[in-house]
Amino acid sequence: MKRIALGSLVLALASGGLAWAAAGSGASGLINADEPSPCQDGWAGCMVGGEELSHEPVTDSAGRPMPASLRVSWFDLAAGPAFSPFQPLSEYSGELPANAASTDAVVAADPVEADPEVDPVAEPAGQDQDTAAPDPEPVVAELDPEPEVDPDPYEPDPEPYVEPVRSDPEPSRFDPDPEPSRGSSSTGSSLNGSRASADPEPEPDPEPAVQGSRASASDPEPKDEPPDDPNAGRSIEPDPEPEPEPIVTEIAPEPPKMDLGCDNLVTLEPAALMGKLNEGQRSCLEERIRNTGTITQKDKISRVLLINAEASGSKKEWERLAKRHLEDIDRSDPNLCFKYAQHLSRGGVGRAWGVIKWSDYALENKSQWSGTTYKTRVYALYQLKAEAAMKLWEDANKKLVDAGADREEWAGKEEKYRGMAKDYSREWLDYARASSQDTKKPMSLCVSAAGSKKFCQD
């Protein structure tokens, strides 16, 4: 009966406390389900204008408190923190704001002190069920002076859980070799001795040695001794040892391995596009070109070398490789012929014949192009040819002027190159008209070579 009454009293007190907290001004932070959420995104708390907004009351411009959910102040109709309905979701960075962190620190610094005399692990000895009422469970607070915020909730805690360790180990009942009491042996009582031998005696305490031996003789059961340490009754987590700072040692990157193999051309393509083929790889590819029998394989290998030379900016090497490719391997690619002709056109009059030759080869395979590419490249090829012929005619004219004994020879060449310039420029002009492209440049070249507009008229 007494126990029931005491239990009901405790329940009543607890409910009363809860009711008081609920009816409070809201400082405890309990949420009133009837009040609308102050945050427009539906969360119980959010950041508005850099400040935290929750169900706690806010103040208006005059310092008067008002509910946080009010959009407009009651007295002066000023916009409240919850005024804008277009607030986006507050960003969650995983870190507590400054005021929330201080609040948690205050809570952690003041743990609820447990009763030092009550051991939550061991059962109280000698408890009489009839007389004693069950004590309420003591509140055990974990001492954690530095609350650590786990940024990733899915990562395991770095600190392993340490079971609380009692300073005074409890004497075990099952101690195999208990010390026999002196008192029992001195009296020589058979009855006491038999009793002592039947029940294993606990280890006596070193300080109260006499008392412990007397007690062990009369009471075989273990006895709770008053602890010396006032904190012994509390379960305390040992302070976590500060983790040593990780030692970072810079490991020098491994030197890149020299890959001298060139069997797989596909694996060399990325390096070739960057112009990063090393000397061993280039030598290997050159060796393969010499030893490979099929033209198709030579073509592929040569292209890798060409692209590498172009990417690395080595124009001389590219010219050498392009000339070898076109003359010894394959000249059916109009793109390569065009590219080579354009490269030669940047040179002097000595390369003009090469420009005309490779422009002609490119025009032979122009059917591989289509659309706008076809139009622009054919126009460009005719232009290269006409300009190359003009350079030859110009050079022959100059040499004719300075000619001495070989004047007749140069007169003949001058006439020949002039005819070439006339024809190529007329071709260019005709294609420009047919493809509806610019005719000004080809017309001026044609008239210059022909000497009159009549030859160049449509």
């Binding site: 051309l265 596909v266 393509e269 198709t296 073509d299 592929k300 292209r303 890798v304 060409l306 692209i307 172009e310 793109n335 390569l336 065009f338 590219k339 354009q342 056109s345 940047r346 622009t376 490249r377 460009a380 232009q383 290269l384 300009e387 003009m390 350079k391 005619w393 110009e394 004219n397 100059k398 004719l400 002027v401 002039r418 310039a421 440049k441 001026s444 070249l445 008239v447 210059s448 070579a449 000497g451 009159s452 507009k453 009549k454």
Partner: protein, 153 residues
């Protein structure tokens, strides 16, 4: 008899004197007026390789390689007829040179002081504006096995 012979001699002499001025007038240094054309470039230097031609003429006349000039009083057309440079006449000339734009001038001949200077503009070779094509690796292209447009079908 003497009167007839002297009359015949006077007539012949008169005819001779009448024809000779006309003959002198028909020669190069005679009827036509000398016209002198000098061909220069933008910097004022003579264009050594320039040629001058009349639109109806087949031949081209090269300028002097030292000073870039050409001068004459008459031109001969393809049918052999002379074209005299007479005062008051408008002459058309086509002046060209390799590497320069051809220029056509028309000039009205004056009695004297027919010196013409012509400046030719250089031709601009702008093949540097041409886009270079990209090269590709020689990878094998899979064969298109459509079979719909084959000759057997």
């Amino acid at each position: 008899m003497k009167r007839i012979f002297s009359w015949m001699m006077a007539t012949a002499m008169a005819a001779l004197f009448a024809v000779s001025p006309l003959a002198l007038a028909g020669s190069k240094s005679g009827e036509g007026t000398r016209v002198r054309i000098q061909v220069l470039d933008n910097e004022g230097a003579p264009v050594q390789t320039a040629v001058i031609r009349h639109p109806e003429e087949a031949d081209r006349h090269r300028v002097n390689s030292v000073d870039g000039t050409w001068e004459d009083e008459v031109l001969y057309l393809p049918d052999g007829s002379p074209l005299l440079f007479l005062p008051g006449e408008v002459l058309v000339f086509e002046i060209s040179a390799p590497g320069y734009e051809t220029t056509v001038i028309s000039y009205q001949v004056r009695r004297r002081g027919n010196d013409v200077k012509v400046t030719l503009a250089e031709l601009a070779y702008d093949s540097g504006d041409i886009d270079e094509p990209m090269m590709s690796f020689g990878r094998d292209v899979p064969r298109d096995e459509g079979g719909e447009a084959g000759p057997a079908n």
